[in-house]
């Protein structure tokens, strides 16, 4: 007879009773382990301690998880306080991961929580191997692609020991989505990459010659004018003086073109690519993610297969659907990509195309052909050495059908891309 009378929480009850929807749910496994023990010993990594991250941490602890790591390289800003509820005004400027972990420790002293004020790339492989599961609450596509490819690679090299499910949440305004990624078993993050359109950019010729919107004038001030006037200073979207300068320049330009509507808020929004964010959407997506984590770790109910969309701007709309592995996926499909390009186009054109193409969406690609360095973004010396290649035609650098090796900060490993000249049969 199960000791249900002593259960004081819903989850304890669920872990000690038969599951009507899960035939093979075992109250004790062959190894003598109970679902409660699985929950107790699970080691979970939360990536991101922002809007989603704060919610995810709360949800994990309130679900009974006992071992939690949280990693975030960011510090707290005033504009976080409207939704990132583990932070107070006195915490502004401090590392998010550390403040969040301390808050959780105070609230639930029996939880073992470790903060990492670092980049995900800086954690050793053994750390990732020690995890049971990863929950991502990130706003950056780049970081999600990196962890996805890294974890996929881990599963490939270490088999079951390297198998780490990723539950990924994302929100924007009143909309959000969730993915349950089982590396090598279902669609990976990159398989659904085309659902995340690259950030809106404005053509340089519009910004420089034919501005029509206040945004065009702000881009002119921040992208073209700032580096010209302050070649050694990076524009900081959080620095009020910097944004005020952009507002002033943009306003003058806007006035000369009879364009209206430049405001501080708009300028900051364009410069920082601000995505509106509120507590309620984060709460919905984060809790949905941790609910899946509970199911994955304990098997007490069926987990989501494998994606869910939420929209709240008109009615309340949840949509669950299976996303399929993509053959063209760079991580789990064919490991090689191919590109069509004109033989007369420049290397710079090719780099731009690699950034904009929906399959690649690279951030700052460096290219090698055989032993030849075509272009390197870093270090500075190599960049200067290879920069002259940018303006060269592709057919001066390699033949059609050549395979280049591409590295990019979004990818933990290099990528092979075959370039075919569309104006010449290879």
């Amino acid at each position: 007879m199960a000791p249900v009378a002593s259960c004081t929480t819903g989850i304890e009850r669920f872990l000690t009773l038969k599951a009507p929807h899960v035939e093979d749910f075992e109250l004790v496994t062959e190894e003598g382990e109970t679902p409660q023990q699985m929950l107790d010993k699970a080691n979970v990594l939360v990536i991101g301690a922002g809007g989603l991250g704060c919610e995810i941490l709360k949800d994990l602890v309130m679900s009974g998880f006992k071992n939690i790591h949280v990693i975030d390289m960011d510090t707290i800003d005033v504009s976080n306080l409207n939704r990132q509820f583990l932070f107070r005004k006195k915490d502004v400027g401090k590392p998010k991961a550390e403040v969040a972990a301390e808050f959780i420790r105070q609230r639930s002293p029996d939880v073992n929580i470790t903060a990492h004020y670092k980049r995900i790339q800086d954690m050793p492989e053994e750390f990732y191997l020690s995890l049971s599961l990863i929950v991502c609450g990130l706003d950056s596509i780049e970081a999600r692609r990196w962890i996805n490819a890294f974890i996929y690679n881990l599963a490939e090299r270490h088999g079951y020991e390297g198998f780490k499910p990723i539950i990924d949440g994302g929100t924007e305004g009143l909309r959000g989505n969730m993915r349950v990624i089982l590396p090598k078993h279902n669609a990976c993050f990159d398989c659904g990459l085309d659902m995340y359109p690259p950030k809106t950019t404005y053509p340089i010729c519009t910004i420089a010659n034919t501005p029509r919107l206040p945004e065009h004038c702000i881009e002119w001030a921040s992208v073209l004018e700032w580096p010209r006037i302050f070649p050694d200073k990076k524009l900081d979207g959080d620095d009020v003086d910097h944004i005020n300068w952009v507002v002033e320049q943009a306003s003058q330009r806007a006035a000369s073109f009879n364009i209206s509507g430049i405001t501080f808020s708009l300028a900051q929004g364009v410069v920082k690519n601000i995505i509106p964010a509120i507590a309620s959407t984060n709460a919905i997506i984060a809790a949905a993610c941790v609910n899946e984590a509970v199911k994955l770790i304990t098997s007490c109910n069926k987990y989501l297969d494998n994606s869910m969309l939420y929209t709240g701007d008109a009615g309340v709309y949840f949509f669950a659907y299976p996303l399929f592995q993509s053959e063209t996926c760079l991580v789990c499909g064919q490991k090689e990509g191919s590109m069509d390009a004109l033989s007369t186009s420049t290397l710079e054109d090719l780099i731009t195309a690699l950034k904009e193409h929906s399959v690649f969406q690279l951030k700052a690609p460096s290219l090698t052909y055989g032993e030849t360095s075509l272009y390197f973004q870093k270090p500075k010396m190599l960049e200067e050495q290879t920069r002259p290649n940018l303006s060269k035609s592709l057919n001066d650098l390699f033949d059609s059908g050549s395979t280049l090796t591409v590295t990019d900060p979004t990818l933990p490993t290099s990528l092979r891309v075959t370039v075919n000249f569309s104006d010449k049969a290879s």
């Binding site: 929480t9 679900s63 509106p276």
Partner: protein, 537 residues
């Protein structure tokens, strides 16, 4: 108090969604919550964070004491408060998050509170002053009593409940009007029937006299008008009621007119033919509002929304409008040189201004008929109404206090969404609790009984009750044994995550109802995370 600039910074990420007006509405709101479980604290968390001052006037009504389970599942109680009032504890901890907040707790059982209102009316003031009422995990009797009072006072109410992996959110509001729905609509360019200033502008441009560089900078609005004219002349007809193939002919014509193949602005114009080469039509939702009985008569008690809608009816009947709504004044970005675009923008803005002046004349007539002063509706309201005339929305849900044996509202939608069995089981569970004075699956009542055996028996009884309800509704629908068993398995105890998802939805709906921005759902939302079925209607 925070200064405006502090606030702008603190609330930047949400002001981008609902602007100053929405924020002001939130700050003046008064939210009354019944229950203090995880559902209540998680709902309130998402309201207290974005709006300190007004939702600050929130009140939590509950007499529950903090248990060991609460400490492990309700983030907003303190471990040190074991045994104390749960309502007070969540109020204190929610207020701690935002120093400007004002919340209070009433240590009274919601059932008792409701009885007082029904018998003596002594507590009704609290309810009547609310902007929104939320009932968290309350018995149906409490929900119905609150809902009935709210319905007659036109106060929206949200009832939310959780059975383990399954949650239900129900909203009732007698009437909810939305001007700023933020609905996305097709651009309103009026190229099929250009107004005078637009026609004059298009006529002032002679495409044949432009070189290829200048041609590449002509905005699509002008290109569309030219192409439609040309097509009509060639076919010796008037361009209206165009078929799909005729629209395609105009697109092809635009591609022919391009100085070089694939010229961006001509391509833009060709793809815009789909949405722009159609006759003007009032959006369906707006038509329904205009045809509503409330739009047809006015008096001094008529709400501003319906006064404005009545004026809109008169506007649309006028010769001036030609049956078209006041223009919003906005046009999308399009490939063009700065001067052409700015000119075009000005032409549409002036059109919008003229439309608003005409609309105001009709509004003044309406106000006169209603015996109201001409400044009864503020100019900001008129501006917003005209700007959003094509995006107006109206929500009238079903009441929440009808007899459980009557056919439920939106039964067909629930059935279509695969959640009618869930709805029936939630109602049956309430009947079970009334009958047995305990929730299905809760062992405390029979301490000597085997829990698996108890769950089995309760699931059977719950299933029978749900089936009886379905037959009293005269709806044929299977209720799976497993689903009834899943309900009983929960013991109707909350799971933190499912309560947090539901609390997020409650807050989202609350924000929409309070700000009158975006569109709330129509009444019932069921989330079954055991089967990944989520349906809202």
């Amino acid at each position: 108090m925070r200064t405006d600039s502090d606030k702008a910074q603190l609330y930047d990420r949400q002001l981008r969604l609902w602007q100053k007006d929405g924020q002001a509405a939130l700050e003046q709101a008064r939210v009354v919550v019944f229950g203090s479980s995880t559902l209540a604290s998680e709902s309130l968390k998402n309201l207290v964070l974005p709006a300190p001052v007004g939702v600050g006037e929130f009140v939590v009504v509950d007499d529950a004491q903090i248990s060991d389970g609460d400490i492990r599942t309700n983030f907003f109680v303190r471990p040190a408060d074991l045994g104390l009032s749960r309502a007070q504890s969540i109020v204190d901890n929610l207020c701690e998050m935002n120093p400007d907040v004002h919340g209070s707790a009433i240590a009274k059982a919601p059932t008792e509170f409701v009885e007082l209102i029904q018998k003596s009316g002594s507590e009704s003031e609290l309810l009547d002053s609310a902007s929104l009422v939320v009932a968290c995990a309350q018995p149906e009797a409490v929900v119905r009593a609150l809902a009935s009072r709210c319905w007659s006072a036109n106060i929206p109410i949200i009832a939310v409940t959780n059975a383990g992996f399954i949650a239900e959110i129900r909203t009732a509001v007698y009437e909810h009007s939305i001007v700023e729905s933020h609905a996305s609509g097709r651009p309103d360019l009026r190229v099929m029937a250009p107004f005078t200033a637009l026609r004059d502008y298009a006529d002032s441009i002679n495409l044949d006299a432009l070189d290829s560089t200048d041609l590449a900078h002509v905005p699509l609005v002008v290109l569309l008008i030219k192409a439609i004219d040309k097509w009509a002349a060639a076919n010796n007809t008037k361009a209206s009621g165009l078929s799909l193939s005729q629209t395609k002919e105009i697109a092809a014509l635009l591609r022919q007119m391009a100085p070089t193949p694939g010229e961006e602005n001509f391509e833009e114009a060709a793809s815009a033919t789909n949405t722009s080469c159609t006759d003007y039509e009032l959006p369906g939702e707006v038509k329904l509002i205009l045809d509503d009985a409330a739009a047809k008569t006015v008096n001094a008690q008529t709400s501003n929304f319906w006064l404005l809608v009545n004026a809109l009816r008169r506007y649309l009947e006028s010769e001036y409008s030609q049956g078209m709504l006041p223009h919003s004044g906005a046009i999308p970005d399009m490939k063009a040189d700065t001067l052409s675009y700015v000119n075009l923008q000005r032409i549409y803005k002036q059109k919008a201004e003229a439309d608003k002046r005409e609309f105001l004349c009709h509004l003044h007539d309406v106000l006169h008929d209603a015996d109201l002063p001409t400044d009864h509706v503020s100019s900001e309201q008129v501006d917003a109404f005209c700007r959003n005339a094509s995006k107006l929305r109206l929500v009238r849900t079903h009441p929440l206090d009808q007899d459980v044996r009557e056919v439920p509202p939106m039964a067909e939608d629930l059935q279509g969404g695969g959640v009618l069995p869930h709805y029936a089981l939630f109602r049956a569970a309430d009947m079970f609790a009334v009958k047995h004075k305990r929730h299905p699956g809760i062992v405390d009542a029979k301490p000597n009984m085997d829990i698996d055996e108890l769950c089995k028996q309760d699931a059977q009884e719950l299933l029978t009750m749900a089936k009886e309800l379905l037959s009293s509704w005269q709806i044929e629908e299977e209720v799976a044994d497993e689903l009834a068993a899943e309900f009983v398995r929960s013991g109707f105890m909350e799971l933190h995550n499912v309560s947090a998802v539901a609390g997020g939805v409650v807050a989202q709906e609350a924000i929409k109802l309070i700000t009158h921005q975006y569109v709330p759902h129509n009444g019932i939302c069921i989330i079954d995370t055991a089967n990944s079925i989520m349906a809202s209607c």
